[in-house]
Subunit: 178 residues, 2 copies
């Protein structure tokens, strides 16, 4: 038996990404959960960002960004980067994260995150509280330690986590379902 | 040290939803992972669907659908509904799922899924292999057994799972991160 609740963002579980982008003074990192793969060819992602956030103008201006997928080792950095403004904080420095050069876009990748996805914005749609950035994936970088002998992603080594907006909680992944 | 791979849909982990929609002959269910919350006000979701899929025309025609979040109890049904066509299968019947009446849209909710999200399409954008449906959330229904005494969602009772497109695997959620 279900109870009806008011409309909300109730899709769960959600990815957690650290979006990195270049800026006029220094690069910035913003933690986001309103993110998805939406098209397989050309590989396309969407990202929802509030116009009030410091990174919104940087992402819009740059037209390029990197989505870095954190492991549980970057959990504290993910929370920090999602709750502080890049206006007041050098998040790379304060989170002890290392910028590394991307190959297709002019935005830093985050060395410590096991997966980095280079993206270029194709469209921006205003939805209300958030703008929707539709972006093409130009390259994917995966940490060598997560690839098996055939170069395939080994999820068991990745230690991923997820966000549940319904309870504002982060949960680690458990066991593979068979 | 990371290795560069070709562009792909690499955002992980992803939600798994059973989209239910009315149809000319019978309602249908399609399992999708190209789904996200993208705007908090008005609450908005996006869904990527390939035009070749049987449900694409049904979702486009109806203009309304329900996103049902499965628990691990609906894992087998989720895989079935994601790999068979509604043209050849009555998925409600074959998956032993029960349609129940939604309150805001003309599409069945799936009784067995712990969360059902009623949605109305606002925009459709062609992205290539997939079309992007942008839809407003009109109501959220949550199973009573997952709500605590204050009516708040208790994730520990939900037994959610997630999809990892990089390895085409489903993983159950483990422990809450603190």
């Amino acid at each position: 038996m279900k109870r009806e609740k008011k409309p909300s963002t109730a899709v769960v579980p959600c990815p957690v990404v650290l979006l990195s982008v270049k800026g006029p003074e220094r690069p910035n990192i913003i933690t986001l959960s309103w993110v998805a793969n939406v098209c397989s060819k050309s590989p396309t992602v969407v990202v929802g960002i509030r116009p009030e956030r410091h990174s919104h103008a940087m992402v819009k201006e740059a037209g390029e960004f990197v989505l870095n997928i954190p492991s549980t080792s970057q959990f504290e950095a993910s929370v920090f980067a999602g709750t502080r403004s890049g206006k007041d904080h050098d998040k790379f420095a304060e989170c002890n994260l290392t910028p590394s050069k991307a190959t297709k876009v002019d935005a830093p990748m985050i060395e410590e995150c096991p997966i980095s996805i280079e993206c270029r914005t194709k469209e921006i749609h205003s939805l209300g509280a958030h703008d929707l950035f539709v972006a093409e994936v130009l390259a994917v970088h995966i940490d060598d330690s997560l690839l098996d002998e055939h170069g395939r992603f080994d999820a068991a080594k990745a230690s991923l986590f997820t966000y549940l907006p319904l309870s504002a909680e982060y949960w680690a992944l458990g066991e593979q379902m068979e």
